[in-house]
Subunit: 342 residues, 2 copies
DNA sequence: CATTAAAAAGCAATCGATTGTTTTAATTTA
DNA sequence: TAAATTAAAACAATCGATTGCTTTTTAATG
């Protein structure tokens, strides 16, 4: 099994009494090979079951036609959709994807990045882990002359190509929507503020309160409620307040929103009449809970495509300097029953 | 950006007035390099920001330390979990993953496979598309001396390493469970019978009927109901029958089960009292529908790990022949409200 | 028919790391 | 101190494809 030798251009050359270079050119459809011999070479290649050794080819050519992707978790809806989007776009260009997951661990993220650098990928696409505050490893990518595109969770300090969601604006709109529905005490479940996306969402929330002339109430803002369980706990705490909120913006995820909904139901607090709920991400299940959950769609698949296309675009300006560029995608508020107070 | 030249072992050698071979050996911690020089080389390598060119290394070594994965869709819970499992296991061994998606298209699947062969991956892990009936491309993998592992949706005819779910048994148990709950007319929503997994599930269904002395009723078995929409249609059709079923086994997926549930609710058919529902896959949402949906857990993450470990195991028997081997994982029935008739 | 231009094929270096073999240097033994 | 042994480093070929340059062959032109 493992010792089977593969056909190379030398084998083809030898069989046809030609020079390997001609074989190579023929296989690359160069015009400096006679059509007849070209046909002959192609035929023989097929006969001998030849396939190009991409390793050798890329080594010679100086690139790998490979894009490395690092995400916290592959099996998370948002990320797997982004990856699917990237794959969709890169595949057409003959590029391959090498996927790594950091598992939200800084150490593993650094390892992943190093592996990708070793692999000589042409580009690294990354969404950083929650633990990541230091960016030496990202700088290292750049130092190796490798293109770097950050998406979603990006390191603001590092000037690179970025594709982000406009978290601030979408959160603003979500909270405005809730206020317009008549909710007056809107609570916020925050994610780790280390991550810029969660800071932005908080800012959107604050701006919405402000623009609607509502006070900012500290006890209605719960830090680090970014899992279903943490959100459930937070909800219990919030609903037991002397002055409980009449709405909760689970800015971290739909899973958090789900946690809220479950606790509310358990405590016989009526949603949406007594409590409005808004999540984030538009997971499939938000449509089918009862009541269905208002949320924000991030266009994850499209985001992936955007990332890929950004790379190909930048590829083309060979000689010009790389200018840090940020593409911001505007997420869409999906209003559902969980916020239909009226 | 793109013209930045990377440090090679030659650069290090030149700087230290040594031979590249010594540098290489030092970096590989060979014993035939003096400890002092080894340290010096390592230090210089770090200074010059050296990283090994895996392309060159692999070319020389004759392998790529890369595993190619082909799945119908990356962003499908089951598959992304399997991939996460594979990644988890392979990462530790210093292997990389190249991921492709066939989008359920035969043509694209063939293309993916060819790319992976070109890439000289060490192993291809595949779950075939719904369109795939022909297996030349898989044979081709073998012919190139590349290890091949099929999982979940496998081509029975091709003798390779396989990791599968025991679909027959789990379906049998699911239907038995429903019958035990008192359901007497259990309908079946089938997937495309081209795929062996769907054939097996049907067999399990049939065996359950037989062993419980229930008749097989043709009009209760609906072909090709493998999306939410198709299942919804099928359900409408089933529930309008003069003698409608009192339970539906949506053997294709939980999404199908969801379709069933929605139609039942719309038609004011009470679940589980008047209609039992069982899905397949244990998607997250099955827990939170009302009622929650009985389903079957496939241990997808574990399945991925199993695939990876199978490869590493087989790696070790260098000289022995590869014996076709099948690892069958027993899925687990998760009983929930949607089948609690009593 | 000789000369020139163009087409086709061959030659050889290159990408960067690895590794079997040889040479040199250092150390040990007689 | 010379010979033998061992350690360390140098040399050179190799993996397979690509590509600039040279040579050979063929076709075209005057």
């Amino acid at each position: 099994m493992r010792s089977k030798k593969r056909t190379t251009i030398y084998d083809i050359a030898e069989k046809l009494n030609l020079n390997p270079s001609s074989v190579s050119r023929a296989l690359n459809n160069s015009s400096s090979v006679n059509d007849a011999t070209k046909k002959l070479i192609l035929k023989t290649a097929k006969e001998l079951n030849y396939t190009r050794n991409t390793l050798a080819s890329n080594l010679r050519k100086g690139h790998s036609k490979t894009i490395g992707v690092v995400v916290p978790r592959i099996n998370q809806n948002f990320f797997s959709n982004v990856i699917a989007g990237i794959e969709d776009a890169t595949y057409k260009q003959g590029y391959n994807l090498v996927i790594c997951q950091s598992n939200e661990l800084y150490e593993k993220e650094v390892q992943c990045v190093n592996t990708l650098i070793n692999q000589h990928v042409d580009c690294v696409v990354i969404s950083i882990s929650v633990e990541t505050t230091d960016h030496k490893h990202l700088q290292n990518i750049l130092d190796h002359g490798i293109q770097l595109i950050q998406f979603d969770r990006v390191a603001d300090e590092l000037e690179t190509l970025k594709v982000t969601n406009d978290n601030e604006q979408s959160s603003f709109e979500a909270v405005c929507h809730m206020i317009k529905q008549g909710y007056k005490r809107v609570a916020l479940l925050e994610g780790p503020q280390k991550l810029n996306i969660f800071r932005q969402r908080k800012n959107g929330y604050l701006r919405a309160l402000e623009e609607n002339g509502l006070p900012v109430i500290q006890e209605l803002m719960i830090e680090n409620a970014w899992t279903k369980e943490l959100s459930a706990n937070a909800t219990r705490q919030l609903l037991s307040l002397p002055q409980p909120p009449d709405a909760i913006f689970a800015s971290t995820s739909d899973f958090s929103a789900l946690g809220v909904l479950e606790v509310a139901t358990a405590m016989t607090v009526k949603v949406p009449e007594e409590l409005g709920i808004c999540g984030y991400s538009n997971e499939d299940f938000t449509e089918i809970t009862s009541p269905s959950i208002t949320t924000i769609d991030q266009f994850s698949f499209y985001m992936g495509k955007t990332v890929a296309n950004l790379y190909f675009q930048e590829m083309e300006n060979t000689d010009t300097m790389v200018v840090p560029k940020i593409i911001s995608i505007k997420p869409k508020l999906i209003t559902r029953s969980s916020t239909q107070k009226s």
